[in-house]
């Protein structure tokens, strides 16, 4: 009797928590959606007085440049994700599985780019990239996005490798598996959840870069945040809201994909 009551209490508490979480996530999105269609929406009106598709029409029109910026953002973020993982995987493995002198100092240095204010580091990196002719190009933008993404990806994967026993690989090898097979059937499944989260983080960090893209891309490489910030500063709420939704959509998609992937792994 007591037992069932407790579980049903637990269940309703869980449901309430879930509802609150979903509400917290959905209310801002719903507000953005309403703003993007609002024509006149002044305090204290609870709902907009008039609606219009002006903002969406503008965003879809070629002069707005949103579609090209979106394509560029996706391209850059995918490249950054791939490169960040390529760097982070071996680094995280070494950090997690090997003891060596200066490991703590190395971890600290790894975090430095995240600790420095982004304006300061953007200016510094810009000066450096100028010397190597990396400015005003997609390659430069991808490289500069790697600076904040690699630390996060590495730390996240270090966590995955911490619970990984390299003896499993050795066992598979003894049983005659090729290195590729070992990677696919032993290593990858063990670190897959961490890998998915690290990839999502790398994608999202690149996705939200503004100053670094502007400095290194020199205004030639135009990503979504560049178009968004101009409107956000001018106070055109409808277009800012519509652009914010376009900006948010892929990030939500990434979250859904990663969440589903993690559930499948479980």
């Amino acid at each position: 009797m007591n037992e069932t009551r407790r579980t049903s209490l637990e269940r309703s508490a869980k449901n309430i928590a879930a509802a609150v979480t979903i509400g917290l996530a959905i209310i801002p999105l719903a507000l953005l959606l309403m703003w993007s269609f609002a024509r006149h929406w002044y305090w204290p009106a609870l709902l907009p007085r008039e609606y219009s598709v002006r903002a969406w029409e503008y965003i879809a029109s070629p002069p707005a440049g949103v579609i090209t910026a979106l394509t560029m953002s996706i391209f850059v973020a995918l490249c950054v994700t791939a490169l960040a993982l390529a760097v982070a995987l071996p680094a995280a493995r070494a950090l997690a599985l090997h003891q060596f002198r200066g490991k703590r100092a190395l971890l600290f240095m790894l975090l430095l780019p995240v600790l420095a204010p982004s304006l300061a580091s953007a200016m510094g990196v810009h000066a450096l990239f100028l010397r190597y002719g990396l400015t005003d190009s997609v390659l430069g933008v991808v490289l500069v996005h790697l600076i904040p993404t690699v630390p996060y990806s590495t730390l996240m994967l270090t966590g995955s490798f911490a619970n990984f026993d390299p003896d499993w690989e050795a066992q598979a090898r003894t049983l005659g598996a090729s290195p590729v097979k070992v990677w696919r059937h032993v290593t990858l499944p063990a670190i897959a959840p961490g890998l998915a989260v690290a990839a999502a983080f790398a994608f999202l960090i690149s996705w939200s870069q503004y100053l670094t893209t502007l400095f290194i891309g020199g205004g030639r490489i135009i990503t979504l945040p560049l178009t968004l910030v101009a409107f956000q500063r001018s106070g055109d709420e409808a277009i800012t809201a519509a652009l914010s939704l376009v900006f948010l959509a892929p990030t939500l998609l990434v979250f859904v994909i990663v969440a589903r992937f993690l559930r499948n792994v479980e």
Binding site: P63, G65, H126, L214, F231
Partner: protein, 412 residues
Amino acid sequence: MNQLRSILILSLLLASLAVSCAGPEIDARLVFTPAQFAGARWEETLERARGTTVNYGMWAGDEARNRYFQTGVAETLKRKYDITLHITPLGDVVEIVNKLLNEKGAGKSTNGSVDMIWINGENFRTAKQAGVLWGPFADHLPNIRHFDEAARARDFGTPIENYEAPWQRAQFVLAYDTARVAEPPRSVEALRAFVKAHPGRFTYPAPPDFTGSVFIRHILFHFGGARAFQEGFDEELYRKASAASIEFLNDLEPFLWRQGETYPATLTELDRLFANGEVDFAMSYGPSFASERIARGEFPATTRTFVFDEGTIGNYSFLAVPFNASNVAGALVVINHLMSPEHALDQSRTLGGVFPLAPDHLTAEERRAAEALPRGPATLPADELAAHLLSEADARYLERLEKDWLEKILRR
């Protein structure tokens, strides 16, 4: 198998990335010194610019303006000069100025990514002092003849010396609703009387908002005399006039909207308060702003604008060429076009605003066209605005006053 496929796709992406990053090369036809430009015929510059692309760093926070430049202006440039206009959308031109300073420091004096920028005031002062602008050039553009001396002498007190070319004009106006306010206060003292008689019905955007900043400069001009602020920085003058201004603003504060405990952060917020009937005055650097908002149904149709009897501050905004522009020829042709009567008329028809060219520097036909420009119901006639125009103060007064406002009014 899936993993292999994704690795394959990613490596393809990386390969295409490597291909796409081949850097641009310097084109000697498009890059030359100001002295070479001064010595060349204009037709030669036109010829060099043909078939090129110009990167224009433009504040891009206005939908109508973006649309107009990306379509109307871009098509005209293509048709008339065979130039492709590429707009770099900016939230604030200061970002490009910082980038140029960095490039100057690193010695990147060619192959810059931006060919022309829309600039004025403090940013021009910084850029000119740091030597990150290409020039002098403005006096050698054919269309400079349409601007009078006031547009060519100083920009917020900084001598222009042909390092930027004028193209747009702005002047501060206040808006009120004739249905609510019978007679607007046409002087700083009348404003004080009005605000005290109607508590909670007035406020201004918090500086460093552009418009809030120019509003408090009117107070400074009132106490120090408008003419005194235009040439150089005088510490003694500033100290006296700013003390009186701060006292004035503090005296007003308890009678402002929300007792002055908070100020609207942006001009949009003030617009909204006015549209909503919460305050009695709106303000803007754009003399036609009230007419545009009436047309959009945001302001009541009975809204009108006014200026102070002792005048309101106006300025020009300018176009400049970065020192490392890769297409100087193209930038000069585009700048010259944006200074033409043809463009000024077209832009005034499309976007509103003040017609920037001096009437006595136009042909009779152009003058007639300018006079026939539609003027919104709330916009003051051009001659009334011109008769009340005050030049901007030296940029250093602006910086000091904004700082003092933050310390002595907001954080008091």
